[in-house]
């Protein structure tokens, strides 16, 4: 369970996309349209879009196994302090992410597969990522803090 946070959540949109390759871009653009009025800096918006696309792609591929009839549900909500995007698929058990932290040198040496950047990318793009699941669903929640958000000059999140 996600811990309750201060401030009441306003639901901004509830969306769904069929599990077809490429639909992560539809999800990404729909979320971007939804939060357009919240005044996010362009850089932060790009980060949110990338995180939404990666989480949606993971949901379609691993959760719904690209069954077109299986939907990925996307709920966008906000408080004064944060934006939350909850992405839910129809998979069972733990959400499938490659647990290995990607290491470029290891990949170039053949010690790791060239792929496996999705989870790392999501975690790098948002302030929090929470994964929950039961026997019928996985939900990945992406959270961006709206206040006091700082980014290092090289584009990484400030710790």
């Amino acid at each position: 369970m996600t811990a309750p946070r201060n401030g009441s959540h306003r639901t901004l949109a509830e969306l769904s996309v069929p599990s077809e390759p490429g639909n992560e871009r539809r999800a990404m653009e729909a979320v971007a349209d939804t939060v357009e009025g919240l005044g996010l800096p362009g850089r932060t918006l790009e980060r949110l879009k990338t995180a939404v696309a990666e989480a949606t792609m993971n949901a379609m591929e691993h959760g719904n196994r690209y069954r077109e009839e299986a939907l990925v549900l996307i709920e966008v909500s906000a408080t004064d302090a944060e934006i939350s995007v909850r992405i839910t698929d129809e998979g069972a058990g733990p959400a499938a992410f490659d647990p290995e932290t990607p290491d470029l040198e290891a990949k170039l040496d053949g010690a790791q597969t060239p792929r496996g950047w999705g989870l790392f990318l999501i975690k790098s793009m948002v302030d929090e990522m929470n994964v929950t699941g039961d026997e019928r669903h996985h939900t990945v929640e992406l959270i961006l803090h709206l206040n006091g958000r700082k980014e290092a000059s090289d584009g990484r999140k400030a710790l």
Binding site: P21, G22, E24, R25, R43, E46, R47, T50, A53, E54, M57, P102, L104, K107, L108, G110, T113, P114, R115, G116, W117, G118, F120, L121, S124, D154, G155, R156
Partner: protein, 118 residues
């Protein structure tokens, strides 16, 4: 398998370097297009491959994986991989993934071609 939403045109700019103009999406579906372009760009004595990302609309984690696969091939052939035209957002992703340690990032084609001579 959906079609790749990308085109990659290859230009031989001198004896040393070829440019691949990437237009569209760099995702898993671009693998065949990218590897075909690389094979065409590598023809002859080319020592540097320059990726022009001015027309890049979207890149996801699978696209990053493709770049790693390309890097492995480039390193094996003792070539160098350079880029120009990356947006600020994708530059930050190159930094986060440390791809910028292995791929030379430049602002313009002229800078990238000049760097390829070094």
């Amino acid at each position: 398998m959906p079609q790749a939403q990308v085109t990659m045109d290859v230009r031989r700019v001198n004896d040393n370097a070829s440019v691949i103009d990437v237009k569209g999406e760099l995702t898993a579906f671009a693998e065949g297009v990218l590897m075909d372009a690389y094979n065409q760009a590598s023809d002859g004595r080319v020592r540097a491959i320059v990726l022009n990302f001015e027309g890049l609309e979207y890149m996801n984690s699978s696209g990053i994986g493709l770049l790693v696969t390309l890097l492995i091939r480039v390193n094996r052939e003792k070539q160098r991989l350079l880029t120009y035209g990356l947006s600020e957002h994708y530059r930050s992703i190159f930094q986060i993934t440390r791809l910028d340690d292995a791929i030379g990032i430049h602002d313009t084609e002229d800078e990238a071609i000049e760097a390829a001579k070094a």
